[in-house]
Amino acid sequence: MPTMPSIFFIDGRRVEIRTRTIRQVTEHLKAVAAFVGSTPRRIVRLDEHLLNRCQRFLRGHIVRNSQVIHGIRKHLALGDFATVMTHWWGEHARQSARYAVCMLALGQAEVAAVWAKASLLQAAKSFAARAGETYLEPKWISLQLHRMDDDERVRRYWEVTDSSRHHGSSADHAMRCISLVHDLGVRGCENTPQKLLVDRTSDVTTWRIGDRVHLVRNKEDVFVLGQAAAVVWRHMVWQRPVATIRQAAVTAGVEQAGTIIAVLARYGLIQVTWQGTAITPVLPMASPGGTVTPRPAAVDPPLLDLRGATASSSDAIDLVAVPARRFGAAAMAMVWGNIMVENAIEDMRGALDRQQWRVAELTARRAVDGGLRALLSACGVNPLPPDAELVHRGDMVGPWAREILSAAEQLHRVGVSDPVQGKALLERVNYFVSLIRAVCGADSFPASFDSASNWQTTLDISYDWLRLGAYLDAAIPIEEARDLLSSGGAQPYIAPGASRGLATAGGTQ
């Protein structure tokens, strides 16, 4: 049977016909009847379309077969349906008002006013349902209340919702709405911000790479936080009052902490609870509730560097344009590409010292390939093309990297046969590496094998990415990197005990 109404145009009028079998209608009524006597928290889970079908069937005008219709209607008494609707709207009103209280506590008066007004409408629908007015569509609220206009609360409703009479601030308006919600019979949503606690949402984790904070949501999305947002995030302690968190972040110098916390909640990176119970504001018959995902942040290439993604501003909570696993895998590949560059340059220097020209040529190409791996990874390319193709894959990074690719192509063709050419090759490779470093985080990546402290920095960055890679089960080049990481970067051509290299430097092995 169709679930969409059939539309007919008869004598210039539009006629909607909704068809259901007796069995279907009976099941609808029984499904709702099963909730009679349940708690509002359970009742609010009832689907609005199911309720609407019951409402239409129970309150419709019978044209014929009244005996059959009355027989079916016995499955759900009108009074019981009104009670269910009273709780259903009441719970929605409660959740919306709690969210409004939360927004007030975070200094988001405009948003608070929107939700307080929504709560008031829902509370009015609950109030009407208590009087037997069970129609679901909010658009009829004025006519429903008109039939109850001898109630003082109805008069106040029109006063509060009449936009021409708003003279106070948005916060004042929100509080007036919340106060009337209470008077309309919806309890448990008073303006008591101390009841608001922050709590975790499942599958949101924090990964700091160097000084940058990244959040991973559902192992799918990566958000990068700007400096102020990161300060606020670091102050989050689950099950502490949201006002306390906000104040602590303000004290730490982030005046706009309330706005940042509101965005974190909107994106589902935290949740704010009412004494431990989730707040779930929804606008029935209007829009779905739940968390929001922003558009991916627009950034100039590259997408990431060795410390991860870059936020667009201090307050920003930016969605990174690649999914989490690819983000982790690309970053690891970039780290490894940089280590490969350093490793190859060290090999190249050793080969030049020993006048091993062919070895020097090959190690130069290896340094170039490592740099190109890092370059493509910085653009979010993952998995990478084979090394032999890297130099021809300018189409994957865009015209902005033309100079780098041109330099790489030339280096792939360079030959060496004497010390002068060797020195020139080293200079050109170093220039190429400087271009790569400008892309991959400039000075953030150390010349790994120059000193113990540089090697330690390399290890720290690598292990930061390893933690995230392990969490995401991302493809990480660890097998390839492990030997180097655990050997401390010792070079095969350097004799044990020699002063160069890290096998003997700084005690980090």
Partner: protein, 372 residues
């Protein structure tokens, strides 16, 4: 319920001892608690167990623990002959919980409390062949990896610290006494932490201090393997196993029971820490690469004074079999990461984690000696 028993619990004010005492009292047994310096028994939920001083003429009454002050390191616990004789004559069971469990103490301390203390407790049991329930540790297995069976003890393993070694020596002495005819059973808890349901723990010691230092970033890197794991056991499960072994001693006699919980992998620690925005996630470095010199001066101090005492646990790949213990009390089924999250949540709620660390010396104050 089994018949009412007269039970002596040594180390009755310690974490495991108090929880076990509380359960035995609630079960209606006549419980005597041997305590060193503490004058009251506080169960893990923070409630005091009703107590009164022990006297030879004490009426056997339910709901009250009778306390004796004594020192397990001294012959006959330092009790006078009359008390010793009267006590030994009255007992149906001895549950030997008294031990020092914190790390980093001089070897002679472990010898005195954990080994000599056990010898003295056995002497009391041998007076009248009183059934003896000995609290050991699952970590008598030392550093060896793989599945650790409950019936394994001395297989030539190497130990991570003097505590483990002392508990091994004590267990060997108990086994010798058992071979000589003393009815005995051994219960081996792993790392004792908060309750299985709420994570509640009476005091934050040992592993909790490590969690605090790591989560605050006061030690940012440790030698560790992602797949290494530490077994954390809820204190209520340990007490339940001890109670079961005490009440159902005929069945538990000559058995060794692993009172263990959830293996928590180092990866679980990393991933779970990442769920807490204010936490730092430690880096796990290859043990061949790691040296304390890679840490800052302050970190190095914390590492050397606290974390290093535990660091070989970050490298072990051990799984404790509990088939025998499961016949008495089923092992908690909670996954390691879920249980760790519960422990952290409780510690946050209690204000231990997420708060300012006391000055280093206070945080590192050696733990109370003498009672588990």
């Amino acid at each position: 319920m089994s018949d009412r028993l007269n039970i002596l619990v040594t180390g009755a004010s310690g974490l495991v001892g108090a929880e076990t005492t509380s359960r035995l009292v609630r079960a209606g047994h006549h419980v005597y608690g041997l305590v060193h310096n503490v004058g009251e028994i506080v169960a893990n939920n923070g409630r005091r167990v009703s107590s009164a001083p022990w006297t030879a003429a004490s009426a056997r009454e339910s709901g009250v623990v009778r306390l004796l002050r004594g020192d397990v390191t001294r012959p006959r616990f330092g009790l006078d002959s009359e008390t010793w004789s009267s006590l030994s004559a009255s007992l149906d069971r001895i549950v030997h919980c008294a031990a020092i469990t914190d790390f980093g103490r001089p070897p002679e301390i472990y010898q005195q409390i954990n080994v000599t203390g056990t010898v003295h407790a056995l002497e009391l049991a041998q007076e009248n062949a009183t059934p003896f329930v000995h609290v050991s540790t699952a970590y008598v297995c030392g550093n060896r990896d793989g599945v650790i069976a409950e019936n394994e003890l001395d297989v030539g393993q190497r130990f991570g610290n003097a505590y483990e070694e002392s508990k091994m020596r004590a267990e060997l002495i108990v086994r010798k006494a058992a071979a000589d005819g003393l009815p005995a059973t051994v219960v081996r808890p792993s790392v004792v932490t908060g309750t299985v349901r709420s994570g509640r723990v009476r005091e934050f010691k040992n592993i909790y201090i490590v969690l605090k230092l790591l989560s605050k970033g006061l030690v940012s890197a440790i030698p560790g393997h992602f797949d290494a794991c530490v077994d954390l056991v809820p204190v209520d499960h340990v007490a339940a196993v001890l109670t079961a072994a005490t009440e159902d001693f005929d069945r538990a006699r000559d058995l060794t029971l692993h009172a263990v919980g959830a293996p928590v992998r180092m990866r679980d620690v990393s991933d779970t820490f990442a769920e807490y925005p204010s936490f730092h996630v430690p880096r796990y470095l290859d043990p061949n690469t790691f040296t304390p010199d890679c840490l800052s001066r302050v970190e190095k101090k914390y590492y050397e004074r606290v974390v290093s005492l535990y660091d070989n646990y970050f490298l072990r790949r051990q799984r404790f079999d509990s088939a025998i213990a499961d016949r008495f009390v089923r092992r908690p089924s909670t996954a390691g990461s879920s249980y760790l999250r519960r422990l952290i949540d409780y510690a946050l709620k209690a204000g231990y984690l997420g708060s300012t660390l006391p000055v280093a010396d206070r945080a590192l104050t050696p733990l109370k000696v003498g009672e588990r």
